[in-house]
Amino acid sequence: MERLKIATVWLGGCAGCHMSFLDLDEFLVDIADKIQVVYSPIADVKEYPEGVDVCLIEGAVCNEDNLELLHQIRAQTKVLVSFGDCAVTANVPAMRNQFGLGNTESVLQRAYIENAQYNPVIPKADGIVPKLLDRVLPLHEVVTVEYFLPGCPPPADRIKAFLGQVLAGQVPKLAGTQLKFG
């Protein structure tokens, strides 16, 4: 049987969801013959490949790079999964949205100048440092998302339950505390 092509992506988030993914421990070994990780921050692949079956996306859409990559993922992936609260709700990264549109400058000012202990400078390099979006968005406000895996981060057993259902050929369906935010 052909292995399921799985990707994991890290947009605007803290990487906690990926840490939790690694907490799957031996389950990762158990499923190694059923899946093939074709793209991930923990694998050295430069370009998001074509024909991905399932993509777990961590993080909110915060900047232009996130936006572009997300559209590419959508075009090249069968099933998108919002992986963790940042992807599902925009969570902590979106707290800057409260400062209204046009908040990016003041946010950068606060982070890189006012709170800097050494060398206060706002990083700017066209083509290298991506521009922040006016509003941080959850994935489903940008593209169609098939499944949602909430949690900050989603505990390993929740990820396991989800992947287990997917690999068993079922429609993944989480319920009860498995859907808890935070």
Partner: protein, 238 residues
Amino acid sequence: MAAKTLTIDGRQITAEEGETILQAATEAGIKIPTLCHLEGVYDVGACRLCLVEVKGTPKLLPACTLKVAEGMEVSTDTERLRKYRRMTLEMLFAERNHVCAVCVANGHCELQTLAYSQGMEHVRYEYTFPKWNVDNTHRLFGMDHNRCILCTRCVRVCWHIEGAGTKNVAGRGGKSQIITDLNQPWGCSESCTECGKCVMSCPTGALFQKGSTVGESERDRNKLEFIVNAREKKQWNA
């Protein structure tokens, strides 16, 4: 008191006259989701989560204020009601900034619990990301308007259990907010008795004990019931 016989979710139930559907259902072990309801204070029927279907009535009615009647046929868990409940919860999450991950009430929040128990895995409505303040001026307590769902439990306990009338709702519509006295910093309130009942009553992380960090805000609602029973019924069973 006369007894009334009625049906809830297909089960025959006997309830006392004057009881609400919510009370009758709870006694029968049927759980109806609630959010603005709080044992010990009167009900306002505002959150609309406890809406039920009553045979012969086109309108959905709140179980918390609806009195039992002979022969009533009530459904509390239809597909339609589940859909509306989920939508109501989604609206609440989209209305203010409920960031569970960094909330004092994480894990002990009624809003959060309802969301997962009603199967809300994401919010389909656009988040509005309004700007709300946190009032940290009180020496013991804080109020984070970002987490407030305007259930008015705090207002009701402050008026009708404590009797101080420190808290109230100001403004209206989406701009409504819970205020202290003349909308002044809580720390400057002259009427606040610092009894902490409002904090005990809050279903979310909007009202909290200072110094508590993420997930630490567990509330002892039994205290409220204890006080009400003591004051009104003269029964001190802790």
